[in-house]
């Protein structure tokens, strides 16, 4: 179940136009799960390095790695 949900979330992220998504957006990929369950799965994906947090300081969003990696962000400023 957990693996299936992870795949659904990753697939959903790949099909979105925006590179950064809110927690609520990710939950749409797994509508049968309660939000607390979805949170556990999303955090497992973060720990596995399959998705990344992006934070403005006030809001947190999620993105796929490689779309806007730290290295890219910092390289672009050199």
């Amino acid at each position: 179940m957990s693996q299936e949900a992870k795949e659904k979330i990753l697939e959903y992220m790949k099909t979105q136009k925006k590179s950064k998504l809110y927690f609520n957006d990710l939950c749409k990929a797994v509508p049968d799960l309660k939000m607390r369950q979805a949170k556990k799965i999303i955090n497992e994906l973060v720990e596995e390095g399959k998705i990344k947090y992006w934070s403005s300081g006030s809001t947190t969003m999620y993105m796929l790695p490689g779309e806007d990696d730290v290295a890219k962000e910092e390289d672009s400023m050199k």
Partner: protein, 424 residues
């Protein structure tokens, strides 16, 4: 010290009798090139009347979704030492008690691994460490957690670092052990603090009494404010001593000279509910009408004290004015005992979070959701009955509109006939 950047506009900010953050940064600039470039960048921003920071990013420490706020300068060609200048929020001890030894250790670590600049404290309450590079984030986190016994605080869509007033540590009016509550909530909700799940930020603030020294009612999504449900304790001898000018009114806050207090004019007439009476010898208080404004207690602290059956009023929904304007918290639980392990409170807060997570839009604070759905929907979701103490004045702010189905016997209402009798 001569800086490598000219800063004539910043120098203006160092003039006058006030402390200047420019002087502080300049002092650090002698040792840290990062601070030198920071001043140069700030001067450029003043010249051009434009900011040069890019706020936000994916930087953080492993496994945490908060505590680090990415910050980059958009002119690294001119100011390479502040190309990255990330902020770390450090969870402050409850009531911000530190030993000087601990503060020195933190400052030494931060001078070595960051800019050396701090903000004591940010408005959420955290100790803020200003300015470091991406490669130093994990080493700083390791040092904080392993050497200093401290942790990062909350940022982003997380539970923010809970904060509280000084509480029973130094305040005789505190009706709550604010530090114990803050510590317990911090430890219980570690996952919510470090791993985001909410539509937006969520703040707990705890004040020991209705003076609300941490301004919980104005700032916290959940305000826990100490109160009492028995009677204000009165020492009539001390009341007469205030009237006779034997004691300093207001605990010395408005002048330390003894003077005769006009109890009628300065206390009784200023009581917002008119629940007091003074005949020149005895002060009477009708406690059932008291709304805990604290004025009388603040004016005569030797004579009046909060009651002894203490607990907290729980309020929800305050926020600063980003959307819709500022909101104060609304009373939801007029009185809760608040004793460890705070199960009753935790059961309530988890219902609130579930409702907010299910229904909140992205970046919608709890108070905005309550406003959008109505207090009635909120109370139904958290299974709390409406209570007259939730409103200030009946008919002026009626949060609760009853349905005929809610009231035994119901009623018939014909809106068309009503409009015929009440045009407009």
């Amino acid at each position: 010290m001569a800086l490598k950047h000219k800063t004539p506009m910043l120098e203006e900010l160092e003039k006058g009798p006030w402390p200047s953050f420019v002087a502080d940064i300049r002092r650090m600039a002698a040792r840290k090139p990062m601070c030198e470039d920071l001043l140069g960048l700030l001067e450029l921003s003043y010249e051009q009347k434009e900011g040069h920071w890019k706020h936000g990013g994916i930087v953080g420490v492993f496994g945490y979704g908060g505590g680090v706020i990415g910050r980059y300068c958009d002119r690294p060609d001119l100011f390479p030492n502040v190309a990255h200048f990330h902020t770390l929020r450090v969870n402050q001890p409850a009531s911000k008690f530190y030993s000087t030894e601990q503060l020195r250790k933190i400052c030494d670590m931060w001078e070595e691994k960051g800019s050396g600049l701090t903000n004591m404290h940010g408005s959420t309450g955290d100790m803020v460490l200003l300015g470091t590079t991406t490669d130093q984030l994990e080493p700083v986190f390791y040092h904080l957690t392993h050497e200093l016994g401290m942790d990062l605080g909350g940022s982003g869509s997380n539970l923010r670092t809970p904060s509280c007033c000084i509480g029973k540590a130094r305040c005789e009016w505190s009706c709550l052990d604010t530090q114990e509550i803050t510590y317990d909530l911090t430890m219980t909700y570690q996952d919510e603090l470090h791993r985001p799940m909410f539509p937006y930020k969520f703040k707990f603030k705890t004040s020991g009494c209705p003076n609300d020294c941490v301004a919980a009612i104005a700032r916290a999504d959940c305000s826990i404010i100490g109160t009492w449900r028995d009677k204000i304790r009165i020492d009539q001898e001390a009341v007469r001593a205030y009237a006779a000018g034997e004691l300093v009114p207001n605990g010395g806050s408005h002048g330390t000279a003894k003077r005769a207090l006009d109890i009628q004019k300065e206390v009784v007439d200023l009581c917002p509910t008119g629940c007091m009476e003074w005949d020149g010898k005895t002060l009477k208080i009708w406690d059932e009408d008291c709304t805990r404004c604290m004025h009388c207690i603040n004016v005569m602290p030797r004579a009046l004290r909060p009651g002894q059956d203490t607990g907290a009023t729980i309020l929800f929904g305050a926020k600063a004015p980003i959307l819709e304007g500022a909101q104060l918290s609304s009373v939801v639980i007029p009185f809760m005992k608040m004793e460890p392990p705070y199960d009753e409170f935790k059961e309530l807060i988890e219902k609130v979070w579930d409702w907010w997570m299910e229904n909140g839009k992205n970046r919608e604070r709890l108070g905005e959701l309550i406003q959008r759905f109505g207090m009635k929907a909120f109370l139904e979701a958290i299974e709390v009955q409406p209570d007259p103490r939730m409103i200030k004045t009946p008919r002026y702010n009626p949060y609760i509109f009853y349905d005929p189905a809610d009231v035994p016997g119901g009623w018939e209402h014909d809106p068309k006939a009503f409009r015929e009798r009440h045009h407009a």
